[in-house]
Each structure stands twice: as C-alpha cells, then as structure tokens.
C-alpha cells in the first residue's frame, strides 16, 4: 500500500515540470502540452485524495477536469491554427500584437 503523500509528491513533481515547460519553451504547441501535463498532475492528486478520504467526489471532479481539458484542447488548437495562418509561426515571441 503506497501512502497518499507519495502520490501527492509525484503529482507535485509532474505539475512543476509542466510549469517549467510553460516558462522555458517558446513553441506554443509544446507550451500547450505542458498545460496538459499540469492538468494530469492535478488529476493524480485528486484521485489519491479521493482514495485517502474514502469518497468518490474527487473522481467525479477528475472526470469534469478531463471534459474541460478536451474542450480546452479543441479551442486552443483552433486558435493555434488561426495564429499560424496569420503569422506563419508557432513561436510565441512572434505573437506580440496585443503586447503594450
């Protein structure tokens, strides 16, 4: 039986790697994948705490998070296609029209 805090530490590690990906990478597709990585880390923590508390509420929340992630991926990738059509680039440094 693995303790819940081990799962929580693993979840925090995956979340931190996702944050690092968003901060370091310039490719908007990889940044998007890093966001998916963060969502996965949080899901793992929710399922671990659901087992810890002996209730299924956390698992329902994970189910809803997955729905939101699917919607977010669809809309986000459509935005990326739009941006690429206009700028011919996926580098976020090129998308500075609304900066300042």
């Amino acid at each position: 039986m693995v303790s819940s805090s081990a799962y929580m530490i693993l979840s925090a590690t995956i979340f931190a790697i996702g944050v690092l990906g968003v901060l370091v990478r310039r490719n908007v597709l990889v940044m998007f994948m890093s966001i998916e990585l963060m969502l996965n880390g949080v899901n793992l923590a929710l399922v671990a705490l659901s087992r810890q508390l002996g209730s299924l509420d956390g698992q329902v929340l994970v189910f809803l998070v997955m729905t939101v992630a699917a919607a977010e991926a669809a809309v986000g990738l459509a935005i990326i296609i739009c941006l690429f059509r206009n700028k011919k680039s996926v580098n976020v440094d090129d998308f500075n029209l609304m900066k300042w």
Binding site: A6, R51, M66, A73, I81
Partner: protein
C-alpha cells in the same frame, strides 16, 4: 510489490514528462506525453479507479493527443520554424523558481500529511470502485456540473469550428 510498481511508474512518468519539455521536435514531445499519460492511467488503476484509467487512455492518450498530432502534421513545421529557445538567464531563473515551487509544494504535502490516515488505515475503508458508484454520484449529486460540462463541450465545438474555418 505495489510499491515497486508505483516506483517504476513514477520514474517513467517523471522522465517522460522531462523529455516532453526538452525535446526539440513537437512530435517527439507529443509521443512522450502519451507515455506519461499511460503511466498515470496505470497509477489510477493502483488507486482503485479503473473507470478513470480507461477514460484517461481513451480521452487523453487517444482523442486529445490525436488532435495534437493532427495539428502538428497540419501545420507542417520545418526545422527553422521552431525558432530559438529562451535566453540562458531566463532558463536559469525558470528552473530556480520551479525548484522553489516544488520545495514549497513538498513541504505543504509533508506538513499536511500529519493529519491524514496512514496507508494501512485507508486500505480498510475501501472506496466503492467501478462505474456504477461513480455514475450514481454523477447523475444525482453532481448532475448540474455534468449538464454544464455538456454545454461547455457544445460551446467548444462551435468555437473550434468558427475559429479554424477560413470563412463561414
């Protein structure tokens, strides 16, 4: 035995997650992300959540990642379009602050773990597994968020079509 499986899966998940953000090619990143998601799905199985493990593989590793690969192929990026990565100083500070974030999270988890039941106590009160118990909760207590999720998906479909289509 369970600890051994957990350790192997944890190492695979973390290594693949690091490879996701360090690979130059987005296709390689996507493939390593699928590996991370599959190992998290097996961790869900260990955590007595078989339905979520199936959904994780079908929706995340299946649908969402196919969408990612599809867009990567559609954009048809050449090597030089990947562009230069961030400057060294920025990368240094990013790693430093993420490390601090990780230490902070680990501290919170360790402090919070005092009040929790130990793993042996948890195994006595097993959560009801399987689709039936989850569906019971989803269609009674969480019916309203469930319906809202369906509206959200509809909005996302319409939004994606409106944005990605050249002219309506």
């Amino acid at each position: 035995m369970e600890i051994l499986i957990f350790a192997i899966l944890a190492v695979i998940a973390v290594v693949c997650a690091i490879l996701v953000i360090s690979q130059r090619s987005p296709v390689a990143s996507a493939l390593f992300l699928i590996a991370t998601m599959v190992s998290i799905a097996i961790l869900f199985l260990l955590l007595n959540a078989p339905f979520l493990a199936a959904i994780q593989i079908i929706v995340y590793a299946g649908a969402i990642m196919v969408l990612f690969i599809f867009v990567i192929m559609l954009l048809n990026l050449r090597r030089d379009e990947f562009g230069p990565e961030r400057r060294k100083v920025q990368r240094f500070f990013a790693i430093l602050f993420v490390f601090l974030l990780l230490i902070g999270l680990a501290t919170i988890i360790q402090v919070g773990a005092f009040g929790l039941k130990s793993a042996e106590e948890v195994s006595d009160v097993t959560t009801p597994a399987g689709v039936e118990a989850l569906a019971q909760l989803l269609f009674t207590k969480y019916l309203f968020p469930f319906e809202l999720a369906s509206i959200l998906l509809l909005v996302a479909i319409i939004g994606a079509v409106v944005m990605a289509k050249r002219r309506l």
